[in-house]
């Protein structure tokens, strides 16, 4: 019965093909806008996640300072630094396989009588060799307890000095002489800041960065979680241990514990909000399209009032009349949705060719089609109900 009514509805739409297509175009524009906007947000999400892929998903990072709502989400200045003893205590937690600390700060660097100020990332070598997957274009990372060895970021080696610095050459940092043992590969967009860093061991860092000279402070602790452990649970244990060690409550926290899962969640939140924002703007065009459907259906019903009266006279129930008009508006919606989706896929592909990240997931495709059908049916509901409830005799008399 529904299939027969659908056939009848298609005939009606074809009979008024110009108007049907104009209405469909409204939905095409709406669906196209939404899908393209969401595809841009999804493409951005995928792009950022790809860029963050150097973050292993089994790493927990502890930083000094905390993100607090009371400061508007800013990082509160460290009430106290993280220390080597924090690092040693955290490394002993059951869910932790290994870990290391890092210091960071500015220092003077000299190469062939050229002086510059550079940013030093001084860390336990385990961070470079086992925990992060930063690749080298030449040489090797520092070894455990090795002193006087540095790895240069790509720009430091190739761009900063008049003469390029190569593995095996000597440079001066602070008042200390170092041998360049490696040069890092050029970073990707999100990790390009690494290109201007100089990497060394924590012990050497304490000699060249003045503020870490006479203490055991570290600016960051990175911990590798035991394989198979639940990272969220271990993250909680790390937080509890730090609260205990620093004698602070959750509200007074002077450190931040993050995992790649947390970062991914934050990225997801941002791109999700972006999707919602862009999709919301685009939804306005779909709303206009749906008003177009309602308008078309109302006009169609007015023109077909006698026809509705005739159908009632030959025994159509109110439900049959309603079905006919709902199917018509649903068809407008779904055809508009399909065309809009195909157009968005083509445009998304084109954007990717021009380097604009864009990605349409199967969920978005299915959602767009379902949504366009629902928009069609919802827009047609009131007109269809009006049609169904027309008085047969009055409808037959309608001029």
């Amino acid at each position: 019965m529904i299939a027969d009514l659908a056939e009848y509805s298609v005939m009606n739409l074809r009979h008024r093909s110009m108007r049907s297509w104009l209405t469909i175009i409204g939905i095409v524009i709406g669906v196209f806008s939404i899908v393209v906007m969401i595809s841009i947000a999804q493409g951005l999400d995928k792009y950022i996640r790809d860029q963050l892929s150097f973050l292993s998903d089994d790493i927990i990072t502890v930083n000094a300072g905390s993100v607090s709502a009371s400061t508007g989400g800013g990082l509160v200045a460290a009430a106290r630094d993280l220390t080597e003893s924090d690092l040693n205590a955290l490394k002993k937690l059951p869910g932790i396989e290994t870990g290391g600390g890092a210091l960071a700060g500015r220092a003077k660097m000299n190469y062939r009588n050229q002086n510059i100020s550079i940013y030093v990332d001084a860390a336990d070598p385990v961070l470079f060799t086992e925990m992060f997957t930063w690749e080298l274009e030449d040489g090797r990372w520092m070894r455990e307890n090795e002193r006087g060895a540095v790895v240069l970021g790509y720009s430091v080696a190739h761009d900063v000095f008049i003469h390029e610095v190569q593995v095996g050459q000597r440079v001066n940092i602070g008042n200390k002489s170092f041998t360049v043992v490696g040069v890092a590969k050029k970073g990707t967009a999100l990790t390009s800041s690494m290109d201007s860093l100089v990497f060394m061991t924590k012990e050497d860092g304490r000699e060249v960065i003045p503020e870490f000279a006479d203490n055991t402070a570290v600016t960051e602790i990175d911990l590798k979680v035991v394989s198979g452990a639940n990272i969220s649970e271990v993250q909680s244990e790390v937080t509890d241990e730090m609260l205990r060690r620093h004698h602070v409550t959750e509200d007074e926290k002077d450190f931040t514990v993050m995992s790649s899962a947390y970062v991914a969640e934050q990225v997801g939140n941002i791109t999700g909000a972006l999707s919602l924002f862009l999709g919301g703007i685009a939804a306005i065009s779909l709303l206009v399209g749906s008003i177009g459907i309602a308008n078309t259906m109302l006009m169609s019903i007015m023109e077909r009032t006698r026809e509705i009266g005739t159908m009632k006279a030959v025994g159509a129930r109110n439900g049959d009349i309603m079905d006919i008009f709902l199917i018509e508006s649903g068809i407008i919606g779904i055809v508009g949705g399909v065309i809009g989706l195909v157009l968005s896929i083509v445009v998304s592909w084109g954007m990717n060719q021009f380097g604009v990240p864009s990605s349409i997931s199967a969920e978005v495709m299915a959602g767009a089609l379902a949504f366009s059908f629902v928009v069609g049916v919802v827009s047609g509901y009131v007109p269809a109900r009006n049609a169904a409830e027309l008085n047969a005799v009055e409808a037959l008399r309608y001029e």
Binding site: M1, M11, A313, V314, G315, R317, D320
Partner: protein
């Protein structure tokens, strides 16, 4: 003999009861009877026809179709009942413009839930019976007035109803077409044994009936058998 149609003190009021289109009409129509309803414009004859055809409901009074009290049926029950028991023929044909003759005739069968192949077969047979076997796929705007009315008659017969109600069936036709249509309606009465109710202004149409009632001010002013019938 049980009446095909029975109206008991039927009233139809409009304008919040200020205007009575029907003002206490009681009427029995026998099975296989050919009833003519005449009267001036506004006398209530079309309202009476609509109520007899279950297309409208009375404000007061009772309507029986056979043993069924139609005036107590729900909206959907009334639609089902109308589809199975009553065939309508209108002055303005009321064909669906974007359906061809075959699909127009098959429309009541669609609402009856009959499968496509069967309903098209039945519709084709009905169109052949009214002399339109060669115009199955013509749209209404490709047909003459007389042909359109014959399509409408075929549609009225789709569910093989017991009662045919026709509102000025020749009102928009030239005399040759009108004659052809009247012959078909007459055959429905004489050969198919249908109960036929026709509203008309035309005396030559009225002359075909067995019984004639005149409506005046929402009441039956005269009711009698036609001579020789």
């Amino acid at each position: 003999m049980e009446a095909a149609l029975r109206l008991k003190n039927v009233k139809k009021m409009y304008l919040d009861g200020k205007f009575a289109a029907l003002n206490g009409v009681s009427l029995d129509v026998e099975r296989e009877e050919f009833l003519i309803i005449m009267g001036r414009s506004g006398s209530g004859k079309s309202t009476l026809l609509h109520i007899m055809g279950c297309l409208d409901t009375p404000t007061d009074g009772e309507v029986y179709i056979g043993k069924v009290k139609a005036s107590s049926l729900s909206r959907d029950e009334l639609a089902d009942f109308r589809r199975k028991k009553i065939g309508f023929v209108f002055q303005t044909f009321n064909l669906i413009p974007n359906l061809d003759s075959l699909r127009n005739v098959a429309l009541p069968l669609l609402f009856e839930g009959i499968e496509k192949g069967e309903r098209e077969k039945k519709a084709a047979k009905l169109l052949e019976s009214v002399g339109l076997g060669t115009k199955l796929h013509n749209y209404p705007n490709e047909l003459s007035g007389g042909e359109r009315q014959r399509v409408a008659i075929a549609r009225a017969l789709a569910n093989n109803p017991e009662i045919i109600v026709a509102d000025e069936p020749t009102g928009n036709l030239d005399s040759a077409s009108a004659k052809h249509v009247l012959e078909i309606i007459s055959d429905l009465h004489l050969k198919e044994k249908k109960t036929v109710v026709v509203v008309t202004h035309e005396q030559y149409v009225a002359d075909m009936g067995e019984r004639i009632i005149y409506m005046k001010d929402g009441r039956i002013s005269q009711d009698g058998k036609l001579r020789g019938k």
